[in-house]
Amino acid sequence: MKKSIIILAFAVTGSIIVSSCKKDNTPPAPVGCASCSSTNTYTQKDLLARPSVGIVFNSNGADKDAFNVSIPSTAAATFQSKFMARLLALNPGYTTNILGQTATQYTTLLANDVLNVSTNGITAFYNGTQLLTGRTLAEDVIDVELILTFGGPTGALNPGLTSDHVNANDKPLPSTFPYMAAPF
């Protein structure tokens, strides 16, 4: 009898903890996903925000690996000066770009590597009007980055380097979710 009261008390307490303090007592595996235990720790292996920044503006494998395990809030302190050296190696004649950015301003933007996304307007990496308000699937982001890197203040410098002349995906993109084409 006494034992069953204890068991009952335990059962009640247990259920209160589970319902009122879920964060600390989350079941090890959510219903349906046996491998989704909330006790496992996962460690960062790769990182990406804007396209191509980490691979083009890091000049060697060690820096690329380091960039991939960095975090955006502190990455600029480590990588801006390296990106600047890389920019001037890629384009020794760099003065400013079509945004009017000096080499320091441009590489500071790149080293603060996050994808800025508008929550109330049109989203585009660059569409002639919107700049860095998102990234759509169809956009020619490489040409944008080539123009910023090689095109100078008017975009007209180094005309052989400001477009790769690949201007669209090799499959049409669907207009409905998930917006990506079936695999080859």
């Binding site: 046996a34 996962y42 955006p72 809030s73 499959k171 998930p178």
Partner: protein, 225 residues
């Protein structure tokens, strides 16, 4: 012995070629992730073309897959694919959306958007799934789509890589073997596939940086310790 040596040579050549030539959005970008299931290719975030109250988040991993390798490709259940969202402007994630594959059920489970218990280099799955979807098979004519209780739509599976770039010519240029791009160029990503996670999320779930009406987003892959 001979065969081994041949294999080693072949590997060395491959490593040289891929190490030298493969630059893309982030495809096999660095020694530490090349050939790993954690290798990110691209991140896309855009306003839904169907519903302007939603944002679409796309994470692509395991790039440059041929059709043959796509047919047997899988997500890795030891990984978390994690969208990080800063909605205060300090470049520190305020919310995460985590996608975690489960091999036993062959489903992708989505957690969040939710405030992470810790920011930075390590993560734990946060709370209970907010959406889940069966992974779309390679041979499926139509994508498998599901919607969770908070209104998040989810897809997971192989897709054509939407990225395009004449990276072969780009590498010739930066290594001094060419001085300009060709016109027309050659899309080095043509005919290749990625493993893709696509989420359509109500904007009301991600917040906004008040002054600029923006959020900052970055994508991480994390591996189980």
């Amino acid at each position: 012995m001979k065969r081994n040596k041949l294999l080693i040579t072949a590997f060395a050549v491959t490593a040289l070629v891929t190490g030298g030539i493969m630059y893309a959005a982030d495809h096999i970008d660095a020694p530490g992730v090349t050939g790993q299931t954690t290798d990110i290719t691209d991140l896309y975030v855009f306003r839904s073309p169907v519903n302007t109250s939603n944002l679409v988040f796309v994470a692509n991993v395991q790039g440059l897959m041929s059709p043959a390798s796509t047919a047997t490709a899988k997500f890795d259940e030891n990984n978390v694919i994690e969208f990080n969202i800063d909605n205060t402007g300090d470049m520190i994630e305020d919310l995460v959306i985590q996608a975690k594959y489960d091999l036993a059920t062959n489903k992708m489970y989505v957690f969040g958007p939710v405030a992470p218990s810790a920011t930075g280099l390590t993560s734990k799955l946060q709370g209970n799934p907010t959406a889940e979807v069966a992974v779309t098979p390679y041979t499926s004519a139509t994508p498998v789509i599901a919607t969770g209780a908070t209104g998040i739509q989810v897809f997971a599976g192989p897709r054509d890589d939407p990225f395009y770039f004449d990276l072969t010519q780009f590498n010739k240029i930066i290594s001094g073997m060419a001085t300009s791009f060709n016109n027309p160029g050659t899309d080095a990503v043509a005919g290749t596939n990625v493993m893709s996670v696509v989420l359509e999320v109500p904007k009301s779930l991600v917040g906004t940086i008040a002054a600029s009406n923006t959020i900052n987003v970055w994508l991480k892959t994390k591996k189980k310790n």
